[in-house]
Amino acid sequence: MSEMRGPAGPGGPSVVCKCECDDVFLSKVEKVVSSYRGRPEDLVQALHDVQSLRNYLPREALRVVARTLDVPESRVYGVATFYSMFSTSPRGRHIIRICESAPCHVAGAAEIIDSLLDELGVEMGGTTSDRMFTVETSSCLGVCGVAPAIMIDDVVYGNLLAEDLPAILRRYR
């Protein structure tokens, strides 16, 4: 498993603001989706590829996807807002997903959630002020055997205790 990284802007973490649909970024999007030209069936994969650029799917990027794959914009938007792995609003460099399904809940996910939000100083769904982390809930991560679990980008952390969190987060800072 590899760790997804957003491009680092000068002087700090990746810049994730609403105004970043500049020509340079859009030409990157065009390059990324060019291999899916005229292939509506590859929409989800194309969205993954585009999202890997900035950790979310800006509006202008979705319009490029629609044009290139020949899918109506309304459908592209529908798919982008349907799957919880996609985001249409800016997110931090790393996405922390907390499993909120029953097995993790029984194993103490609520305590993990409280500690994590406390540690990062954000609300659920929020992004840290340094734009480093966005915390989201997730449906079952499929690792019930190691509940409670969280996932940071592509890496799963299981059998969690609240006191493990600071050390884990330090690896990403």
Binding site: A66, P72, S74, Y77, F82
Partner: protein, 576 residues
Amino acid sequence: MSDIALTIDGKSVCASLGMTILDAARTVGIRIPTLCWHEDLGKPSVCRVCVVEIEGQNTLQPACSYPVSQGMVVRTNTPKVRKARRMAVELLLAHHPDDCLSCQRNLKCELQQLAADFGIREIRFERVLRELPKDESSPSLVRDADKCINCRRCIEACEDVQGVAVLSTANRGFDSVVLPAFGDDLNSVVCVFCGQCTLACPTGAIAERDDTRRVWDALADPEIHVIVQTAPAIRTSLGEELGLPAGTVVTGKLVAALRRLGFDRVFDTDFTADLTIMEEGHELLERIEKGDAPLPLLTSCSPGWINFIERFYPDLLPHVSTCKSPQQMFGAVAKTYYAEHAEIDPGRLFVVSIMPCTAKKYECVRPEMRSSGFQDVDVVLTTRELGRMIREVGIDFESLSEEDYDDPLGISTGAAAIFGATGGVMEAALRTVYAVVTGTELPEDGMEFHDVRGLDGIKEAAVEIEGATIRAAVAHGLSNARKVMERISAGDAPWHFVEIMCCPGGCVGGGGQPIGTVMSSRADRGEALYEVDRDMPLRTSHTNPAVLKLYEEFLGRPLSERSHELLHTHYTAKKS
């Protein structure tokens, strides 16, 4: 061996391969309730209202999409079925506003009807609304997403029938709702305002913008002279809005009802349909003779179609006739020629159109449509809104005595009446072009061009005129228009003249027509227009005496400078 024997509610049914349980049940008079299913659209199978029990299966199945098979035993009326259907409707009601009494679709709502049919007296779930904003951005349509039940019928109408695809489901679970891309409003996406979604919608989630108040206000103002024009298609559809069978011809009662509502003059868009043929017919001949503008010439009567080509095929705009639509020609003529004649200050003249169309509401506020110096047409009402006004004052429509349109803008021919059916503009044009080219009239039995009639998506015809062949094509429904545009773009268009109507069936199937419009009612209304044509003493536009007089007294001749000033325009590319 396509016959399949099955049993539904103990009745033996002989069905054929490919039929659904719903289809089969209908053949023996068993009515299974539906909600997301629509007879002209696909089978989304999302609402679970049509579920039935199939012997040997644990789970209920949706009758609208489940195919019949040999020996199948179906039960449509069991406690389990009734409970599941009721639950489906109750869950929908639990996040649907309960403002039925003041809803535009009150008494014409399929969800309301189901709740009534199922005898739902209480909803066991807490009512939680999504509280989504109402989209009132466009002059044509109002979208009230809180009333959306996610049946997806509008999506199919928009994407499959019209090929426009501005609507799709967005978000997930409780938050899922039908929206334009990015949640934008309809006025800022590529919506063409055809209103087919309003016919597809089972509830009040998307509807025409109601402009009846503005018309009542004008009628009540003694300082304003209010005139009305009625589109060709209204005379065979208004009856349906008021409870008569599809395709009833109500021309005379329509005129009488409009007088009772208080309009100062009741005129006919058919008059300017004839005028359109004069202008467009000559434009066609000029393009063929001079070769200075591209062929095929594309018609320009249908504002939804104009919106479509501006957004999706702007490169082909030079093909579009410069003629305004009959509605807009009427407005321009009314506020100049008629105002002059009747000695009325055009600033005090209020022009109302009764149209089968929601896109006409947008057309009348276009900046191009002010050639009289005023907004040429002030308000457009759909068939449904006129029905509402007639009901509001309690006019007993059926018992009205028939009355005639006023002179001079109420005089018309059969050629104009058929504008309301797909192929009608083409047929009317061919009748006049023949006469202009040959100097002789078509014989009465050669007047009808059956190749361009009917509901096939794309129709073609070739007409011999003095040794030359005029090739014509007709398309209705924008997904068919798209196919024709692709052929023109590819240089594979052997035609001189192409008629495009935005809505399936042409204007008889327009987005402002009565709720419940389906393909079969479109066919009935179209047939009725051909009947109107057959019964008219004059059947060619160039023989309309009032149109000839208009040229003599005011316009000069077709394509004259004044014609160009008032009756023609140019459309421009819109971002898509």
